[in-house]
Symmetry: C2
Subunit: 108 residues, 2 copies
């Protein structure tokens, strides 16, 4: 199981529409990824580790997928539409990384 992390660096004065991201962009991406993506998570950065510091990332999401190949195949088919929607909610270029899921969710 892998995660695709999409992280938007905090940038003074930059634009980020969290409601559009949650209500429009993320469900659209999930629909395009189809079975390649089991589920996704979304979060909004509130603060950094040091007192008074801004968060490193103003928003982050992760797509939890069965394999990198499945994700990449879906992105080859739908990447242009997905990337084309980014300007509708932000002018920040995201940092993207592929991770291996080590602990999906610890025992509660």
């Amino acid at each position: 199981m892998i995660k695709i992390n999409v992280m938007y660096p905090y940038t003074e004065g930059a634009r980020f529409d969290h409601a559009y991201y949650r209500d429009r962009h993320m469900p659209m991406v999930k629909a395009r990824l189809g079975d390649a993506c089991a589920y996704y998570t979304v979060e909004k950065g509130l603060a950094g580790g040091a007192p008074g510091a801004p968060p490193a990332f103003v928003a982050m999401c992760a797509f939890i997928c069965g394999s990198a190949e499945g994700y990449q195949a879906a992105m080859r088919a739908h990447g242009a539409e997905i990337r084309g929607d980014i300007a509708n909610y932000t002018d920040i270029a995201p940092v993207i990384q592929l991770s291996e899921v080590v602990v999906e969710r610890s025992d509660p």
Copy 2:
């Protein structure tokens, strides 16, 4: 619901013991956080977004907690022990941020 993200920037030549992190450090932190933390997640960075690029972070974890205050109170009590264990698995200083959980887990 909030998330504490702890992210270890990829650093050429740096040390990171993923097994120790998964098997020793993270369960110890969860035990110290107690009821302040509902559960945690752990991942290992594999690759960046561009072909051949390293991941931004060699490892990331998140503690999903009911409130920032509960987490902070537990860290005041146990932070020294937790921070003291970091040298046992890495020489990388983590980036920490507090996030609001917007979508904990989308419908599967």
